[in-house]
């Protein structure tokens, strides 16, 4: 079974802090994705990566950056957290772009 894990289930940070969210997959998938999920707005793609050190912006990249130094690990970075980044963050991975995406358990981030 595909396993996607995320470093924290719940996280509370203060405005202005630098925040790291980590995602690890164990199935040698090429592609990894970061989404945020907000009530009434559904899932929105922040960034995705199709190879080590390769990344592309999604629909809402502002205020975020990503890092993929190893194939199995994809990190989302909030350079200076703001209250409007309070959300549920979901990581996913897929073998190719046309394969099913498998999601991690999510990180609920609260920025105070």
């Amino acid at each position: 079974d595909v396993k996607v894990t995320q470093s924290s289930r719940y996280l509370v940070k203060r405005t202005g802090e630098k925040v790291f969210l980590e995602c690890v997959q164990d199935m040698d998938h090429e592609n990894m994705f970061w989404y945020r999920q907000d009530p009434g707005l559904g899932l929105r793609l922040i960034y995705f990566s199709y190879d080590v050190k390769m990344k592309e912006k999604g629909d809402i990249p502002e205020g975020y950056s990503v890092s993929r130094e190893k194939k199995e690990r994809f990190s989302l970075i909030l350079e200076s957290a703001s209250t409007n980044q309070t959300s549920m963050y979901l990581c996913a991975s897929s073998l190719t772009f046309r394969d099913t995406q498998y999601f991690g358990p999510g990180t609920r981030l609260t920025v105070l």
Binding site: F33, G40, G42, L43, L45, F48, Y50, E56, G58, L90, A92, F97, R98, T100, Q101, Y102, F103, G104, P105, G106
Partner: protein, 111 residues
Amino acid sequence: ELKVEQNPLFLSMQEGKNYTIYCNYSTTSDRLYWYRQDPGKSLESLFVLLSNGAVKQEGRLMASLDTKARLSTLHITAAVHDLSATYFCAVVLSSGSRLTFGEGTQLTVNP
């Protein structure tokens, strides 16, 4: 721009009843996914539909795809409480690299 619309967004039904969730999308695609999300949990893959006329069934859920009408349906047969969840459809463009999700349908099955 690909748009994916689900309806209804909220569905409250009684156990034992049948109902259908609809997923419409705006641009040609040959691949559609259905996911389930329980409250506070992540998304779980239910079905992937790969071609026109595709039908997949798992227990009380059956999904179908009509690529000409750009429509997928998720049919619930004899609903039970355990099916209460939010259901998302998601579409990838034939030439695309990302999924576009519908808004989700929040299903509540009442005893």
